[in-house]
């Protein structure tokens, strides 16, 4: 850091003292509000229960209710805090407000690597998005301070050959040679954190900072520059996390998610940032990290426990933030950094597939939360927050189960007037429907008030046009509430299953995320039928038991019964686009356009199909490229083995090799070049000869870039 910058930069200890006092005050206030509200609700619940907590089932219900209510209350007060702070013009303790905009803009930049770890992602989307980020940064005129790295863990040759070809094309078309790099691990240990670790071991010392992007991330150049400047000005900060909004959704599901993220998100992230302050969390992407302390303190050991708590840490980001905090560095969430984006899964099925991985990763944090040494209390609470995001589902399910047991006992079993042997007077079970309705109304109020606060915030900050105008905005909020109400029980049931699977350590397949396709009826039925059967059985049992209980069960049972059609309909792109054309569920970049999004949609890769294994064998330029990028096999794999694979591939066609064998051939320059040469000499009636002939006839004029 330069001498001039040393004078500009804020002394870490002074800054820490300032925010730390505010953080203690805010967290204490939050704790009191949540605890007070939960105690009041629990007391109310006690009066609603027929035996007022006089038996084990009711005590269980009370405990579950209190935990779930506290969880909801926490979200409510975070949103309220966010609303208030936004009304006041933002949090004065936030990093962005600690210096004048002009001073920040004048802060020199430092060498920064922008890294995008990928694993079996859509090449056009991931690298197309990276090209948009590149162009945006180029427009700032500061790109000379940044290098870009595509860090591939892909194992499927059809995918990584496409990645390499796309990378080469981007280098040519963006003029990015020497600034945009590609590296593929052949041994992908320890998931994404291992991938990033491999980058750091090779090149980490060359960069002061690294900005981590997800495969679906988009970030504006101005934001990237500002992030580096903030890190330069605040040397005590180890990680600076932006708050990515969702964009580019096409299906109804994705557009609903992005609408709620853009409308409600700012309230929650502002509130969360105000409470977490310098002990925030890292979400794994759209964030900047100081490389030296990250390398010095954030290596992740394998967990030494048993079952789920043994082996590599799957959700690494929270842990890295906690380790950074333990090493004395601050971690900030900065909602004021705009133009930071990611995408929603296109359908409920895809979201749940992703959640299945996340659940397992978050449950693993239980071990770290309880066993890790010297972690900040705030980071232990962040672990708990992540765990509760999913654990709340089985707790809710258990609450419903106990409610059913209580009602069944009340209806079918003889009333026990003397549950305690030593009591003198009979205990009359009491049913107080008005109190029950009041309690339900209050709970719903806590759930939905943040949405209306966000609506008020949009109305007060003139963001209404971005959401399609007042009438459409209000209508869209109501539609979003309807959709989220339908989705809540379906998510609850799936998350409950995932939590159980995680705790019993059922093996999961870790694969790239689907970002495009719709859900078919068969897929939805296969996925949702068990839940539908459960929901229907429960509703019918409730109807048989007591009509009032049946009506009470419907908000949960109906979405479960109709989960398959809900899932299919929400995944429809046509429906999402129909609403968009009518101005419903609009978001800022849909209403006003976004240069970043346009760049991504018209990126160089959008016009061309990238070559997989067959195309890379046949097409001379693709083959030459892959051969140039290949690494000759050393040691164990003998030339004879590769020659045998090439011969078998020639005889039997591409299907003659399995995935691993294709990898071996494609990775070896000599073997891949030899295959190319022999394919062009193959007999016309051989598998490759037929393929070649068909290609020549189909696209005689096709040229490769």
């Amino acid at each position: 850091m330069s001498v001039a910058l040393d004078r500009l930069a804020i002394a870490p200890q002074t800054a820490h003292r300032r925010w730390w006092l505010a953080a203690v005050a805010r967290r204490t206030a939050l704790l009191l509000l949540v605890a007070g509200q939960t105690a009041l609700a629990a007391w109310f619940m006690l009066s609603v229960l027929p035996y007022h907590g006089g038996n084990g089932v009711e005590i269980g219900m009370l405990v579950l209710f209190a935990v779930l209510f506290a969880w909801i209350s926490f979200g409510f007060w975070i949103a309220v805090a966010g609303f208030v702070l936004r009304r006041l013009g933002g949090d004065r303790h936030s990093l962005m407000r600690r210096q004048d905009a002009a001073v920040l803009a004048a802060t020199p930049l430092a060498r920064t690597a922008i890294i995008m770890p990928v694993y079996h992602e859509s090449v056009e989307r991931s690298l197309g998005g990276l090209s948009a980020v590149y162009r945006s940064l180029e427009r700032t005129g500061r790109i000379e301070h940044f290098d870009f790295f595509i860090l591939s863990d892909s194992r499927d040759p059809d995918v990584w050959l496409r990645e390499q070809a796309a990378w080469a094309q981007l280098c040519d078309e963006l003029g990015a040679a020497g600034r945009l790099f590609y590296r593929r691990r052949t041994l992908n240990l320890n998931y994404k954190s291992g991938n990033v670790g491999d980058f750091l071991r090779r090149w980490g010392r060359s960069y002061s900072y690294m900005i981590v992007l997800d495969a679906d991330s988009l970030m504006g150049g101005d934001t990237l520059v500002k992030m580096v400047q903030l890190m330069e000005r605040h040397p005590g900060v180890g990680i600076l996390q932006t708050s990515p909004g969702l964009l580019n959704g096409r299906s109804l599901f994705a557009r609903t998610q992005q609408f709620s993220s853009q409308l409600y998100g700012p309230l929650f992230t502002t509130g969360l940032a105000a409470v977490q302050m310098g002990e925030a969390v890292f979400w794994g992407h759209n964030a900047i990290l100081r490389t030296a302390p990250f390398m010095a303190h954030c290596g992740l050991r394998k967990l030494p426990g048993w079952g789920l708590f043994r082996g590599p840490i799957m959700s690494h980001d929270f842990v890295e933030a906690a380790y950074m905090g333990r090493a004395g560095h601050e971690v900030w969430l900065e909602p004021g950094l705009a133009d930071s984006w990611e995408e929603s899964p296109p359908s409920l099925v895809d979201e749940l597939t992703r959640d299945k991985r996340w659940v397992k990763g978050n449950m693993q944090h239980l071990w770290l939360m309880l066993r890790s040494r010297k972690l900040h209390f705030a980071h232990r609470m962040a672990f708990l927050n992540g765990i509760m995001s999913y654990l709340a589902s089985p707790l809710w399910l258990a609450f419903l189960a106990l409610t059913t047991v209580t009602t069944t006992r009340l209806v079918l079993w003889p009333i026990d007037y003397f549950p305690d042997q030593h009591q003198l007077f009979p205990l009359w079970p009491q049913w107080q429907p008005y109190r029950a309705v009041t309690l339900v109304t209050c709970t719903l109020g806590l759930l939905f008030t943040p949405k209306f606060l966000a609506l008020a915030d949009a109305l007060l900050t003139s963001r209404v046009k971005a959401f399609g105008g007042v009438v459409r905005l209000v209508g869209s909020v109501l539609l979003e509430i309807l959709i989220s109400t339908l989705l809540a029980p379906i998510r609850m049931l799936s998350h409950s299953r995932f939590v159980m699977e995680a705790l019993f350590n059922v093996e999961l397949r870790w694969a790239g995320q689907n970002r495009t396709s719709e859900t078919g009826w068969l897929q939805a039925l296969v996925y949702q039928t068990p839940g539908a059967v459960l929901g229907l059985s429960w509703a019918l049992f409730a109807l048989w038991l007591k009509p009032m209980f049946f009506y009470w069960s419907l908000p949960v049972a109906l979405p479960l019964i109709f989960a398959a059609p809900v899932s299919v309909i929400l995944s429809r792109v046509q429906l999402g686009q129909w609403l968009r054309r009518r101005g419903w569920m609009m978001t800022g970049e849909e209403a006003f356009g976004s240069r970043l999004l346009e760049d991504m949609q018209h990126n160089p890769l959008a016009q061309t199909a990238q070559p997989g294994f067959c195309e890379s064998v046949i097409h001379p330029r693709f083959n030459a490229l892959q051969v140039a990028l290949g690494r000759p096999r050393r040691g164990r794999l003998r030339r004879g083995r590769l020659d045998e694979l090439v011969r078998r591939c020639l005889e039997q066609g591409p299907e003659g090799l399995d995935r691993i064998e294709k990898n071996l051939v494609a990775e070896d320059p000599a073997a891949f070049a030899s295959l190319h040469q022999q394919v062009w000499r193959a007999a016309p009636d051989s598998p490759w000869g037929k393929l070649l002939n068909a290609l020549i006839i189909r696209s005689p004029n096709q040229t490769t870039r």
Partner: protein, 80 residues
């Protein structure tokens, strides 16, 4: 009617050149036909290779750096 080996090879040579990024100009077509004629005169076992060898087409790619020079460092693994 089945195509002859020469027809198939000629088609492949033209496709290979085109897919290598070359414009199939009349002059290049004449060169290909000449190369094919010359190669056929020798009756080689690998007609495609012999023809391409005579054309000596430059379709090489410029060298690319996939990554910058290494600057090795290590990651420290602290306590849990």
């Amino acid at each position: 009617m089945r195509a002859t080996t020469t027809e198939i090879t000629l088609r492949r040579v033209l496709a290979w050149l085109r897919w290598s990024g070359l414009d199939i100009t009349p002059q290049l077509q004449r060169q290909v036909l000449q190369a094919m004629t010359d190669a056929l005169a020798d009756n080689p076992p690998d007609l495609f290779g012999a023809c391409l060898g005579r054309l000596a087409a430059d379709t090489g790619l410029p060298p690319r750096a996939t990554a910058p020079a290494l600057s090795r460092g290590s990651i420290a693994y602290g306590d849990y």
